[in-house]
Amino acid sequence: MIGHATSFSEYMKHIVLIFGSLIVILPFYVMVSYSLKSPHEIATNSGGFIGAQQPMVDEYCVKLGNPPEECMQKPLVYNYTQAFKKAPLLRYLVNGLVVTASIFFIQALIAVPCAYALAKLRFWGRDFVFSMVMFCLLIPVHTIALPIYIMLAKVSLTNTYAALIIPWTISVLGIFLMRQFFMTVPDDLIDAARMDGMNEFSIIWRVMLPTAIPALLAFAIISVVAHWNDYFWPRVVITGDRSLYTPPLGLREFKGDADGSIWGPMMATATVIVTPLIAAFLLAQKRFVEGITMTGMK
């Protein structure tokens, strides 16, 4: 009887979870499906997931004066080549990579020593500093976006990589997460390292950091996902120079001319943009979950 009841509640749990995941997955399904289909199939909502893949005429190609027979392409090929042709998507991806990697690298460089000091060193005002860190967690980015924009503009840093990176280099979330993790590292380990002859910086990078890899990885995913997908901030500080666009800004290339023919390439671009993140998450999944559990964020 008890076993039966348990399995029933297990079923219910799974039904709820499956339902929830369907809701989450559906937009992704539509995105991938549209990126494979022809404009006609998208407009009429036909063709199933991948469409019929009937060769279609590339009208832009015809406009350039080529005979229609030479401009026949499968929708899949058309959408993805358009994604890379219409906008320099590769360039955007490289920009995204440079920006997110730099942001995370500098964030770690700053957050790890800060967290170590807040967790393990005794100094006057430590608790106050930590409460300030907690306070900063409460400030929404959008409220300080304008002052930061003005500051960057005053030093003429808008439309540079620096504008995309500098405002994010000090992550209070990172400091907080790492500090919570470092609190769990026994003091004896640090004392042992001191007795072995390490100075405080060696302790941070050679003892604390290696033990904190799962926590750092969790933070890495939070940080990279946030900045890879960020549309707001690049939109604010990159006003002219298209060569500095990050992938989400790249999607803007398709705005306006929503005559239907553009949906395929647009969704192809979106698919290309999210793929690296999904791949990275799948690779690091196990350690990510470990890290989240360890920092008590669950």
């Binding site: 026994p186 004896d188 380990l189 004392d191 042992a192 390292a193 001191r194 007795m195 072995d196 002859g197 390490m198 100075n199 060696s202 003892v207 290696p210 033990t211 890899i213």
Partner: protein, 384 residues
């Protein structure tokens, strides 16, 4: 190799004093144990010697030089922690070689890849490997070198922690309850190993423990610490046989020493519950406390003896080689424990009242303020 000298060390935490004026000379090559109940300041003292904590006042000297201003890493001392504190991300071998690399290689030489091209680095590394290899051999760690601490048992981790301390051949070893996390059998075994290690290394050992058995078995000298003070310093034998303070007598010895309150008459004769003990003291006080260790009681046959006390047995503890009888002397509430041989005990049942007396010359007399009172004479009492 070092002698370590502590000069009136004081440590305050806010308003509370953790250590109040510790003076201690630790001789070169000595095995000195700091022992005391938890919270007595022994670990704090060790950490001050190590340089991990700063004293509020006083001086730490190593080989005649003050090290007050010298960082822990530069004092050339090694420490073994209760939790072992091994680097969890490094293998046993890397754990052992890390202190050597930090001491002998410059930061440039330690760099990955680049370090290899520094002239002379290769020979240095080779000699480090020889040193670590020797230590691994001494401690029989060869089979474990490629494992991570997480894959080791408690005893093995303990050994690695010792190894990491030993490789550097430090001037002195500081040990903070290194055996507390081991199971009882392994602890007894490691006691012997540590004592042997000390004999072979001939280095100064400062050992902190709350376990008086560890202190008695291993040390050359013991410092008993209570409430931030060293109450008595001496060889294990002195400490056990001749404690100068009631707290020392109570702390050392297992089971605990029995304390009975006694009365003193005008001529200095001590009696307990009306029974003469045959002990005379010179000091003119009314009340004393008599300390008698469990093994210093004797069971007496018959009921007539005037120098013996009736002892009501409430519990018999069988340790195989010995029996401990728990109970109380008639008329007193103090629970006391006496030791007896198995063949004496066989006929005694719980609830029975037997007669016991103290062996001559063994009881110790303490005043109300825990001080020891010297016994003037003992006559016409007992014959054990």
């Amino acid at each position: 190799m070092a002698d370590i000298r502590l000069r009136s060390i004081e440590k305050m935490y806010g308003e509370t004093a953790a250590l109040c004026g510790i003076d201690l000379d630790i001789r070169d090559g000595e095995f000195l144990t700091l022992v005391g109940p938890s919270g007595c300041g022994k670990s704090t003292l060790l950490r001050i010697i190590a340089g991990l904590e700063e004293q509020t006042r006083g001086e730490v000297e190593i080989d005649g030089k003050s090290v007050n201003k010298i960082r822990a890493s530069k004092r050339d001392l090694a420490m073994v922690f209760q939790s072992y504190a091994l680097y969890p991300h490094l293998t046993v071998w890397q754990n052992m070689i890390t202190p050597l690399r930090l001491r002998d290689l410059s930061s440039l030489e330690r760099m990955p890849f680049i370090g290899r091209f520094v002239p002379g680095q290769r020979d240095k590394v080779k000699s480090l490997h020889t040193l670590a290899g020797e230590t691994a051999h001494t401690l029989k760690l060869e089979q474990l070198l490629h494992r991570k601490p997480g894959q080791l048992s408690g005893g093995q981790r303990q050994r690695v922690a010792l190894g990491r301390a030993m490789v550097r051949k430090p001037r002195a070893f500081l040990m903070d309850e290194p055996l507390s996390n081991l199971d009882a059998a392994l602890r007894v075994h490691m006691r012997a190993e540590l004592a042997e290690l000390h004999r072979n290394l001939k280095t100064t050992f400062i050992y902190v423990t709350h376990d008086q058995a560890e202190a008695l078995t291993m040390s050359d000298r013991i410092a008993i610490m209570i409430d931030g003070e060293i109450i008595q310093l001496g060889t294990p034998d002195e400490i056990y046989k001749n404690p100068r303070d009631r707290r020392v007598a109570e702390f050392v010895g297992s089971p605990k020493i029995n304390i009975l309150s006694g009365d003193v008459d005008e001529s200095g004769n001590v009696s307990i519950m009306g029974n003469h003990t045959g002990i005379r003291i010179r000091k003119r006080i009314k009340k004393v406390h008599l300390g008698i260790r469990p093994e210093h009681f004797r069971l007496v046959n018959g009921n007539g003896a005037t120098d013996s006390w009736p002892f009501h047995v409430t519990y018999k503890e069988n340790l195989g080689s010995d029996f401990y009888l728990h109970g109380h002397l008639n008329g007193s509430k103090n629970r006391i424990i006496t030791r007896a041989a198995p063949d004496e005990v066989g006929r005694i049942t719980i609830g029975e009242t037997v007669k016991v007396r103290a062996r001559q010359g063994k009881p110790m007399v303490f005043c109300d303020n825990d001080c020891r009172i010297d016994v003037m004479q003992e006559a016409g009492y007992g014959s054990a």
